[in-house]
């Protein structure tokens, strides 16, 4: 019985990891290539979820909702880049952090005005609402399985884009030496806008697929942003491969900690003490992981190659 629980929780952890990866991929690209810290990445996650909720309500189909919301978030992302963030690339990190913090306040309030303080729930279509037996006698929600499949597909597509295409080559070149890429005649401004839009769409997609599970609400972006930071710091800033592996590690540790830490602690301390310590420790687990990684490898586990 515990083994099925273990399996179920590892899948949940995997699924959280996938959502974190979609967030972290955009963050790490934007940071790695433009040297830009964007706190408002969480807002794009929220906007994605809320737009998807609205479109789902209009069209009556979750799938159509996602398909409509994706380009919409892309446009929002490009608008944000062109209007506000473009001027910040040359500024120091503190300015970028503060200005994007201002963007968060703006977007949260905008969302509160447009969607109301409660946010919106996204009802799942019937074909996603059930559960599948992944092993005989072990049912698992279809939707969560779907999230994992979609996430892996997006990760694969991203890998293909970055490693196999000309655009991807420019992205990688930009990550290791942006000035040189500019000197070679590449339109850096356009490349930046493109990458930012891509990151925005990924964050929006993360929000959309998380929304049916956690509900689309104001402030959802802030709660995922910091774990996403943990992911890119652990993985090595600028590295997509690092972000993928670190996202899975963080997702698994967080989920496993919340489910099993009390049992684990209970084996060597009193049940009472374990019950008090477990929630505190599991809430802190991923941050402790980050501190440990940084202590031994300040540049993260998989720093991108060729950075001077």
């Amino acid at each position: 019985m515990t083994w099925t629980l273990l399996l179920e929780q590892s899948l949940n952890g995997f699924q959280l990891g996938i959502v974190l990866f979609l967030m972290a991929a955009g963050l790490t690209l934007v940071f790695g290539i433009m040297d830009m810290v964007n706190l408002a990445h969480g807002s794009l996650y929220m906007i994605g979820a809320l737009l998807c909720a609205t479109f789902t309500e209009w069209t009556g189909s979750f799938l159509l909702g996602v398909l409509l919301a994706l380009p919409a978030v892309l446009v929002v992302g490009i608008l944000v880049e062109v209007v506000a963030l473009r001027t910040l690339y040359k500024r120091d990190h503190l300015d970028q952090v503060l200005a994007s913090f201002g963007l968060i306040l703006f977007f949260n309030e905008l969302a509160r005005i447009v969607w109301g303080p409660e946010g919106m729930a996204i009802p799942l279509p019937a074909w996603l609402d059930g559960s599948i037996e992944i092993l005989p006698g072990v049912p698992y929600p279809t939707y969560r399985l779907m999230v994992i499949v979609v996430g892996l597909a997006v990760a694969a597509a991203l890998y293909w884009l970055v490693v196999k295409t000309r655009t991807g080559m420019l992205i990688r070149a930009g990550a290791s030496n942006r000035t040189m890429v500019g000197a070679l005649g590449v339109n850096i401004g356009l490349l930046f806008t493109l990458i930012f839009g891509l990151g925005a769409a990924l964050a929006g997609l993360a929000g959309m697929i998380a929304a049916p599970i956690v509900q689309a609400n104001i402030g959802m972006g802030e709660s995922i942003l910091i774990p996403a930071f943990v992911v890119i710091v652990v993985g090595g800033i600028g590295s997509i491969r690092g972000a993928f592996i670190a996202a899975l590690i963080v997702g698994l540790i967080d989920t496993m900690g919340r489910s099993f830490l009390d049992v684990l602690l209970g084996t060597f301390m009193s049940a009472n003490a374990a019950e008090t310590a477990a929630p505190a420790l599991s809430a802190m687990a991923i941050y402790i992981l980050m501190a440990v990684v940084l202590f031994f490898r300040p540049q993260g586990l998989f720093p991108p190659q060729g950075r001077g």
């Binding site: 810290v37 503190l94 300015d95 703006f106 309030e109 930071f229 710091v233 800033i237």
Partner: protein
């Protein structure tokens, strides 16, 4: 010292702060707003030491406010109201946590430092959320303020106001001396050229860590005051957005200026009061305002008061 605009404005603001309870005799609400602004000013001054002078972009400074406030709250929870116990413990815990967090985060630089301080702060926020014994996300109500053996009565709001004012004066004057001391000069020089300071034989890491711990401890003091002032503490005080607001106060006032954070904190809170009176959606104005300040007014309010031989330009 020449009698310039900066000195005149600063003195006027301090006199106004000193006389406010007398002028506003019957308006405890506004006395409360200003007292709160002064408490946050103490926190902003402490942040300015590492942010403005030391070039350490800590995005987790609100943690120490939470630690100070939680100290008061947890002691009061166990019916220990003695300020002579609460306050030294609060300061010591702030210093210890700052030492630990500083030792971890100062191994990194630049954007990693921002993210680490942010994540460590968020860790404390989640720790607060998971402490069911101390109210979890509801926090603790502090029914009785710190007691100082009958010497000072913090329950009286004018007395509390002057205690806060006294600590603010102490902090700002102390900071003015500190940044011009040998220690302060080393910290400021590190901001310009860390490698050169190291080459000159200064143990730069230790100086930075000391500044980090000092800033955390002073901010812990602000937390002790805030817990007493609001009669309340909850994890939200440590949320990373609170740290963002503190940074904004420093930048709004003028980074790396002694009195700037006071102007910044007061302006921030007055603006918040004023805008939230106008509309409940005040943040839709406040957010873009923040962006405009960052883009076009990096000198902050201090920059409006004329040039000085700025150490950081």
């Amino acid at each position: 010292m020449v009698l310039n605009r900066r000195i005149i404005v600063t003195v006027l603001v301090l006199i106004a702060l000193a006389l406010l309870p007398v002028l506003l005799g019957g308006a405890p609400f506004y006395i409360g707003v200003v007292a709160r602004a002064m408490i946050l000013a103490i926190a902003a001054i402490s942040l300015n030491l590492i942010l403005g002078y030391g070039n350490m972009f800590s995005f987790g400074h609100a943690v120490y406010i939470g630690i100070g406030a939680y100290t008061v709250g947890i002691f009061a929870h166990y019916d220990i109201f003695n300020g002579f116990i609460q306050w030294p413990v609060g300061l010591a815990v702030s210093a210890l946590i700052a030492l630990l967090f500083g030792a971890i985060s100062l191994r990194t630089k630049g954007v990693y430092f921002i993210m680490i301080t942010m994540a460590l702060a968020q860790m404390m926020y989640f720790l607060g959320l998971s402490l069911d014994k101390y109210g979890a996300d509801d926090g603790l109500v502090i029914y009785t303020r710190s007691e100082f053996a009958g010497l000072i009565d913090l329950e009286d709001h004018v007395t509390l106001y002057y205690v806060v004012f006294g600590f603010l004066l102490l902090t700002v004057l102390g900071m003015a001396r500190l940044i011009n001391s040998r220690f302060g000069l080393v910290i400021r020089a590190t901001k310009f050229n860390e490698a050169r300071m190291r080459a000159l034989g200064f143990p730069v890491g230790r100086y930075k860590l000391t500044a980090f711990v000092l800033a955390g401890t002073i901010c812990g003091l602000a937390g002790l005051l805030l817990g007493n002032f609001t009669n309340f503490v909850n994890p939200d005080m440590m949320h990373w957005t609170r740290s963002g607001e503190l940074i904004f106060m420093v930048v709004l006032g003028g980074m790396g200026s002694v009195f700037g954070p006071i102007f910044g904190a007061i302006t921030f809170l007055l603006l918040e009061e004023f805008l939230s009176d106008l509309t409940e959606h005040w943040q839709i104005v406040f957010g873009p305002f923040l962006i405009l300040v960052v883009l076009f007014a990096r000198g902050g309010i201090d920059g409006l008061l004329g040039r000085k031989d700025r150490s950081d330009d």
